[in-house]
Amino acid sequence: MLIPLNKTRNGESGIVKDVGGGDGLKRRLAALGLRVGLKVTKVSGMYFLGPITVRVGHTQIALGHSMAGKVMLEVEG
C-alpha cells in the first residue's frame, strides 16, 4: 500500500517508492539521505501540519509537512 509520508503514524516504517515535486526536491532530499529504495521510519510529527521527523539509517531528518506529502512510502499491511 502506497501512502504519503505525512500520513504515516509515529513509529511506522516503509520503503520510499517515489519522490514527487520535481528534480530540485528530489535532489535536496537525496542529498540528506532520503531517496527511493531506502527504509524510512517516522519518528514524530508536529501539531498543525508542522514538520515531520524521520529516521533514515543513522540520520534523522526534519522536513516540512507538504514536502513530506511528496514522499510516497510502501508500508507493510
Partner: protein, 580 residues
C-alpha cells in the same frame, strides 16, 4: 602557496579539523550551519607553509539551496586552479553517516584533484555499533582514508602525513544514479552495522522532538536557562566583581582623585564626579570608574554565564530540535524553524546573530529575521544592565520588559510577513545526534567569546563615557533635550534628559542604561526606558553588520520600522502602565 580545502557535509566537524590543523581559534557547535564564512589559516608541512581553507558545509556540488550555491561556486573555482598549483582537498566525513557523506566524496573525486578522506568522529562509531573496514573502503575509493577524532587530535599525524603522498584520482564523471549505485556497493563491502537497543540519547531524542513531550521540555529548558544565567551572573557579581572593585580598585581611584585635586575636567573625565566625597560607581561617570564598573562588574558576569549556557545548548545538539518545535510559530513570522538559531545567538550579541541568518534561504527571510533581531532581541550586555537596574524592584518589572519585547517581536513578525512580498520556504533540516559537550571545547569557546567581548566592548564603553562627559561640559545635551522633549516627555513619559541615554545607546546600549540612573526614574519610567532603548536604533556594531550583510536599502527600511515600532510600543506602554 599550496592550498588545502576542507570540504564536507554540514556538521561533520570541519571547523574542529581546521582548528586542529592551523591552531586557530574557531567556534564549533553541534548543528548544521555553524560556519557561514570561508575561513583561512596556515599550517606548516615540514618547511612548506600551506594555506588551509575551511569551507561551509554542503551535501553536494550541485547546489540545492541558496547557501550551498556560494559554497559550490567557490569549490569549483578553487578546483579549476588546483590542478596547476598542486592544491588538495581534505574531505571531512562523518564516520557515523558514511553512506550519505560518500556522495560528496565521489563528486569531489570526479573533479580530479587529490582527495584525502578524513573519517571524523571515529570514536563515535564504536559505541554506536558501526564497523567500517578501512582497507576495503580506501581500496575501493583508491584515495587515502584516515580515521580522525578532531576533538582529541587522534589521527592527525597520519592525516598530515598523507598530504605529501596523495595523487589525483582517476575516475570519470558519473551520473547521480551511478554514484548512488557505487555507494551501495561500497557500503555493502566496507560497513557492517550491529543492532543496538535504544540508547539513552535516542530516547531523549524522541522525547524532545515529539510535540506532546518536547514542547513542555522546551519550556523547562528556556526557564532553566534564564534562571541559571541569572544565578551564575549574580554569583560572579556578588562574590568576585564587587569585592574586587570595593577592596582593590576604589583605593587606587581615591589616590588618583587626590592627585588630580578632587575636581576639574580631567578629574571628572577619569575618576568621575565624587558624590558626597566618595566614588559612586554608577553615578560618578568617569572613564576609570563607571566605564570599567559597567563592563566588568555589571555586564561581563552575564556575558560569561550566557555564553556558557548557550555553548551547552549548542554543543549538546538541542537547537535543531528546538527549530522543529518552533517551525509552526516561525512560519507565521515569515521564517522557518531554523531561524530560531540566529535568534538565540542574538541574545548574546546581535552581530553574530545577524551574521548567522546566512543559513536562511532567501533574502526576504534574512531581512525579516535581521530586523526582528535588531528590534526585539536585547543583547546580553543590555539585558545585564536592565536586570541590574530593575532587579531591585523584583521580578515583575523585569518580566514586563521581556514580555513587551517578546510581544513586539511577535506582532512585528506577523506584520512583516504580511507586508513583505514572497513566501517562507519549508523546513528541511538534518537533526544531529545528541552529544555530551566536551568540557574543554565548551570552556574554550566561552573564553574566546568573552575575550572578544572585552576587546570589542571595552574601548567603546570607555569612549562612550568620555563622549558623555565632554558633551555635558559643552552643554550640547541641553539643546537636544529641549528639541526632543515633546516626544520623550510627552509621548514616553520620561524626563527630557533621557534623550541623552537614547542617543548614547547608538554607541553602547549598556552605557545608555547606566545613564538612566542619575535621572532617578520611577519603576514605570525605567520599564518604558528599557523597552525604548532595546527597540530603538541598534548599537553601531549591529548597524554596520546589517549594512554589510543586507545593504543600505534594507538597512534604511529596517531603520524606519525601528523608529515607528519603538515610539509606538514606548508610547503604548507608557499609556498602559499609567493605569497601574
Amino acid at each position: 602557496m599550496r592550498k588545502v580545502l576542507l570540504v564536507g557535509n554540514p556538521n561533520v566537524g570541519k571547523s574542529a579539523v581546521f582548528s586542529r590543523l592551523t591552531g586557530l581559534e574557531v567556534i564549533t557547535s553541534n548543528y548544521p550551519g555553524t560556519t557561514v564564512e570561508f575561513r583561512k589559516g596556515y599550517m606548516l608541512l615540514g618547511e612548506e607553509k600551506v594555506e588551509v581553507i575551511d569551507v561551509p558545509g554542503t551535501y553536494t556540488l550541485e547546489p540545492t539551496c541558496k547557501a550551498e550555491e556560494v559554497t559550490c561556486e567557490i569549490i569549483k573555482e578553487a578546483t579549476k586552479a588546483a590542478v596547476k598549483t598542486g592544491d588538495i582537498i581534505i574531505n571531512v566525513v562523518d564516520a557515523t553517516n558514511l553512506e550519505r557523506n560518500l556522495y560528496l566524496t565521489l563528486e569531489l573525486m570526479e573533479l580530479k584533484i587529490p582527495v584525502i578522506v578524513a573519517l571524523n568522529m571515529w570514536d563515535d562509531t564504536k559505541h554506536r555499533g558501526i564497523h567500517i573496514d578501512l582497507k576495503q573502503l580506501s581500496d575501493w575509493l583508491d584515495v587515502p582514508v584516515v580515521p580522525t577524532v578532531a576533538v582529541t587530535g587522534e589521527g592527525f599525524a597520519r592525516l598530515i602525513g598523507q598530504v605529501y603522498k596523495v595523487r589525483p584520482p582517476k575516475i570519470r564523471k558519473h551520473t547521480r544514479d551511478e554514484r548512488w549505485e557505487d555507494i551501495g556497493r561500497i557500503i555493502a563491502l566496507a560497513q557492517r552495522l550491529e543492532h543496538r537497543h535504544h540508547t539513552f540519547w535516542e530516547k531523549l531524542h524522541d522525547m524532545t522532538i515529539k510535540p506532546e513531550t518536547g514542547l513542555p521540555f522546551a519550556l523547562v529548558i528556556a526557564l532553566a536557562s534564564f534562571f541559571l544565567i541569572r544565578a551564575l551572573g549574580e554569583g560572579i557579581i556578588n562574590y568576585i566583581s564587587i569585592p574586587i572593585f570595593d577592596n582593590i580598585w576604589t583605593p587606587v581611584l581615591l589616590k588618583l582623585s587626590g592627585w588630580l585635586g578632587g575636581g576639574g575636567l580631567l578629574h571628572d573625565v577619569l575618576v568621575g564626579r565624587l558624590i558626597a566625597g566618595r566614588i559612586d560607581y554608577i553615578q560618578s561617570f568617569g572613564v576609570l570608574s563607571t566605564a570599567l564598573y559597567v563592563e566588568f562588574a555589571m555586564v561581563l558576569p552575564y556575558i560569561i554565564s550566557f555564553y556558557l549556557i548557550l555553548g551547552l545548548l549548542e554543543d549538546s545538539g538541542y537547537l535543531p530540535r528546538l527549530a522543529v518545535l518552533m517551525d509552526n510559530l516561525m512560519h507565521h513570522l515569515g521564517l522557518h524553524g531554523f531561524a530560531i538559531v540566529p535568534t538565540l545567538l542574538s541574545f548574546g550579541c546581535n552581530v553574530p546573530g545577524i551574521l548567522a541568518t546566512r543559513v536562511l534561504e532567501s533574502k526576504r527571510e534574512r531581512f525579516i529575521a535581521s530586523t526582528l533581531i535588531s528590534i526585539g532581541i536585547p543583547c546580553a550586555a543590555l539585558q545585564a544592565m536592565i536586570i541590574g537596574l530593575l532587579g531591585h524592584h523584583g521580578l515583575l518589572p523585569v518580566m514586563v520588559v521581556y514580555g513587551t519585547l517578546g510581544l513586539t517581536w511577535l506582532v512585528l513578525g506577523l506584520i512583516m510577513n504580511r507586508l513583505t512580498p514572497g513566501f517562507s520556504p519549508e523546513l528541511l533540516l538534518e537533526i544531529p545526534p545528541y552529544r555530551w559537550p566536551p568540557p574543554k571545547v565548551l570552556f574554550r569557546k566561552t573564553w574566546w567569546r568573552v575575550r572578544e567581548f572585552i576587546t570589542e566592548a571595552l574601548p567603546l564603553i570607555m569612549l562612550g563615557v568620555l563622549v558623555v562627559n565632554l558633551l555635558y561640559y559643552l552643554n550640547i545635551f541641553d539643546a537636544i533635550a529641549g528639541v526632543t522633549a515633546p516626544v520623550v516627555s510627552g509621548l514616553l513619559g520620561l524626563p527630557k534628559g533621557a534623550i541623552v541615554a537614547i542617543i548614547i545607546g547608538f554607541l553602547r546600549k549598556d552605557v545608555a542604561v547606566g545613564m538612566l540612573l542619575p535621572l532617578a526614574l520611577s519603576v514605570k519610567q525605567l520599564i518604558v526606558a528599557s523597552v525604548v532603548l532595546a527597540t530603538f536604533f541598534p548599537c553601531i556594531a549591529t548597524f554596520i553588520i546589517f549594512i554589510k550583510e543586507l545593504g543600505w536599502g534594507d538597512m534604511l527600511k529596517a531603520t524606519a520600522i525601528m523608529l515607528v515600532t519603538s515610539l509606538t510600543v514606548g508610547g503604548l506602554l507608557n499609556f498602559v502602565l499609567s493605569f497601574f
